[in-house]
C-alpha cells in the first residue's frame, strides 16, 4: 500500500524540460527533487518495471542538476571536493564521485563527468551541493567558475536501448564503453551522450544542453523506438534495489560515511592531494565503523506494505538499526530491502525483526547486490 496525496503544479518548483512529454505519455505520480518536479510512476511501479525489461524506456531525470566547474583551477577544486582520485579520470570519462563533508558524511553522491582538463560536471542527487561547492571554494581562492548550467539528463533504459540509440545517433553507440561519453549535436540539439544510468540494465544517459528542446528530443527517441516496445518510465525502486544502488536521502544520509554503506572503494586516502574529509576518513578507517548497510530478504509472500519512513529493526527486542528502502522484486520473487545496523550484528544469515505499522516482519541479512552483472 502506497500512501499518497495530491501534488499541485506551481511556479515555486521548476518543471523539467521533459515535463510536457511525461504528462502527455501518462506520468501518474511525482516527487520533488532539486526544486524540480520529477515523475516517479507511469502505469505503476511493477508494470513500469516489466515494460523496461521488455523493450526500451525513457526516464526524465532532468532533476539531476549539474555543478559545473570551469577554469584554470577546475581540476584542483574538483579534486578537493571528492575523495576519489580524479587523476584516474580521462576526458570523456565519468566516475561516481561522492561529495563529503569535513567529518566524512555525505553531502551528495554525484557522478562526475570530465569534459576537458578545465571542465567538469557533477551530476547531483537531491541536495543543493552547488551551494556547498561555491561556499567551500569562496575561501580557497581557486580560479574557477562554479555554476548550474542548462543541462538536463534523460535516461534510456532497457534491452533495446542500444538499438534505439544506434538508430538515432549512429553505430558508434555500439562501441561506447561503460561510463564513457561523447559530445554530439543532433537535429540542432546539443548534448552529451554517456553509457550509464540508475540500474544494472543496459542504459544510456543523454545530457541535454538546451532546456527548450527537451520535448523535441523525447519525440525523436519515441518515434524511433515505436517498434522497440518503447515506454515511458522513471528511476525505479525495484531495479535500484536489485542492483544494490543507493538513493541519497532514502538509504544514506549526511550522518553516514562511505565505509558504512559499502563505498570504501571510491575513497583514495593514498593520493597526495588533500580533499574534504580526508583526515576524518583516515580516523574512521583506523577505528572501524559502528554501523553498516546490508541487504535483507523479508520472509513471507509478496509484501503489501510500502514503508513511508525508515522502520526500526531489532534483534531479540533490542533496537539494532533501521530499514531504509524496501520493495518486492518480481525477478527474484522476494521482498528485498536495505538495513543499516550496528556493525556487530551485520552478519550474513542473521535474522532481524522489522517493525512495521501493521506488525513485525522477519528478515535475513544478505550481501549486496542481488544483481551482480551489468546487462
Amino acid at each position: 500500500m502506497y500512501q499518497t496525496s495530491k501534488i499541485v503544479i506551481s511556479p515555486r518548483v521548476r518543471k523539467s524540460p521533459y515535463f510536457d512529454s511525461t504528462m502527455k505519455y501518462g506520468a501518474s505520480a511525482f516527487t520533488i527533487y532539486n526544486h524540480m518536479y520529477m515523475p516517479i510512476v507511469f502505469e505503476g511501479p511493477e508494470k513500469d518495471y516489466e515494460n523496461l525489461l521488455n523493450g526500451v524506456q525513457l526516464w526524465d531525470v532532468g532533476v539531476e542538476r549539474q555543478v559545473e566547474i570551469k577554469g584554470p583551477d577546475a581540476s584542483k577544486l574538483a579534486q578537493y571536493i571528492t575523495p576519489r582520485d580524479i587523476n584516474k579520470c580521462k576526458i570523456g570519462q565519468a566516475l561516481y564521485a561522492p561529495l563529503l563533508d569535513f567529518e566524512g558524511g555525505f553531502i551528495n553522491d554525484p557522478v562526475m563527468l570530465k569534459l576537458a582538463d578545465d571542465h567538469y560536471w557533477f551530476s547531483l542527487s537531491d541536495s543543493d551541493a552547488l551551494l556547498w561547492v561555491q561556499g567551500v571554494a569562496s575561501g580557497k581562492g581557486y580560479d574557477a567558475e562554479i555554476s548550474e548550467p542548462d543541462v538536463s539528463p534523460l535516461q534510456i533504459q532497457g534491452p533495446n536501448s542500444t538499438e534505439l540509440m544506434s538508430r538515432v545517433f549512429g553505430e558508434w553507440i555500439d562501441d561506447l564503453a561503460f561510463y564513457k561519453f561523447r559530445e554530439v549535436t543532433h537535429s540542432g540539439i546539443p548534448m552529451v551522450i554517456a553509457r550509464m544510468g540508475y540500474s544494472r540494465e543496459r542504459c544510456y544517459e543523454i545530457f541535454l544542453q538546451d532546456g527548450s528542446k527537451g520535448n523535441q528530443l523525447w519525440e525523436i527517441l519515441w518515434e524511433a523506438g515505436k517498434d522497440l516496445n518503447i515506454t515511458p518510465g522513471t528511476p525505479n525502486q525495484i531495479f535500484r534495489l536489485e542492483a544494490g544502488i543507493l538513493s541519497f536521502g532514502a538509504d544514506m544520509h549526511r550522518e553516514n560515511n562511505p565505509f558504512e554503506v559499502g563505498l570504501d572503494w571510491m575513497i583514495d586516502l593514498e593520493q597526495e592531494d588533500d580533499f574534504i574529509g580526508k583526515e576524518a576518513l583516515r580516523i574512521i578507517k583506523e577505528n572501524g565503523i559502528e554501523k553498516k548497510l546490508m541487504g535483507a530478504e523479508i520472509a513471507g509472500s509478496k509484501m503489501e506494505f510500502f514503508n513511508e519512513e525508515n522502520l526500526d529493526v531489532s534483534i531479540e527486542g533490542d533496537r539494532v538499526g533501521a530499514m531504509m528502502s524496501a520493495v518486492y522484486s518480481p525477478r527474484f520473487e522476494k521482498n528485498i530491502c536495505y538495513i543499516i545496523l550496528d556493525v556487530e550484528h551485520a552478519i550474513t544469515g542473521k535474522v532481524v525483526d522489522i517493525h512495521t505499522p501493521d506488525g513485525d516482519l522477519k528478515a535475513e541479512l544478505v550481501e549486496l547486490p542481488w544483481i551482480k552483472e551489468r546487462a
Copy 2:
C-alpha cells in the same frame, strides 16, 4: 484550474513532526520543501483562507529548517552571511535576514532569531543554506558550530490566535511584541514562542524543540481552540500576496538581488563589518537596477486559471518581464499578482499583457502591498 498529480509518501523525503496531525485533520495536497513533506491545502485555498479569517488556524511549517550557529564567533559568522546589521538585534528578537551570494543574489531569505550573544537560528525558506553557511565558514576559521537542530515551527494564525495562545501559554502572550520571542517549556515540551508569521494577520510561531512531540503540541492547541473556530491551514497564497510577502523560488530567485524586489531596507552598506555581497550590492546601488518587482491587478472577473510556471509579460508585443505568483483575493475581489519587469516599465498605472496558455490578460501595475497594516 490547478493542475495536480499524485505524490507518494516515501522515506526519501522527511515527515514533519506534525505530519500525522495534518493527515488526521484533512490535509489534501502536499508539496516538498527542504526535503520534507509540507501540506499546502486542507479544504481548498479559498475555504482555508475564510476559515483563518473566522477564527484561528494551525499551520505546519516544520519545513522551515533552522541553521543554528553557536559558539564564540557566532555573531561574526551570522553577520558575515547577511547584509542586515545584526547589531540592531537584541536577545529575544528576530529579524528578517536574507542570505546573499557574492554577487548579491538570493541564497535564501530566512528570519534570524538571536537566542543569545553566541547563539543564532536562521529559519529557512526552501534551499540547503546549511551547506552554504558550512561551506563559506570552512574557509574563514571561525570558532562556531553550524548545524540543523531538532527545531520544527508551527504557526498559529488568525484573529483568535492571541486568545488561543494566552489560554495555553499564559497572559504574557498579550504583551509579546512583534518579532519578539521567549523560550518556554509547556507540558514537558521545550519550545520558543515568537510573535510573527507568514501573513499580516495576527499570528505566532512556535519553534518546537523536540520532534517527537509535534502531534502532542498540535492536540494541546486544538483542544484549547475548539470554541475559537480552530481549523487546520497552510501558508496561504492569498494571504501572502495580499501582504506583499515574497516566496523564495516562486517570486525571487538566485538571479535577483534585494534592490530589485523591494528589500533595499534590509541592506546596511554603512556598517563596518564585511558581509557576503557587500561590494556587489554597493555597485548595484550605484549603477541602479535593471529589473523591478511590482504588484499588478489582472482585469476581468475572478480568474479561473492558476499559473503552473512564470508567464511572459509584454507591452505592445515586446517582452518586458514575467509574472510570478498570482491569486484571486476574495477580500479585494481582485486578481492580484507579482510581476518582475524591466525597470523602465515599472511604473504604477502602466498596463501590461500577461500571456497565459488560455490567452492574454491585461494587468495594471500597482505598488505593493495590498494590505499595509498588520492585524
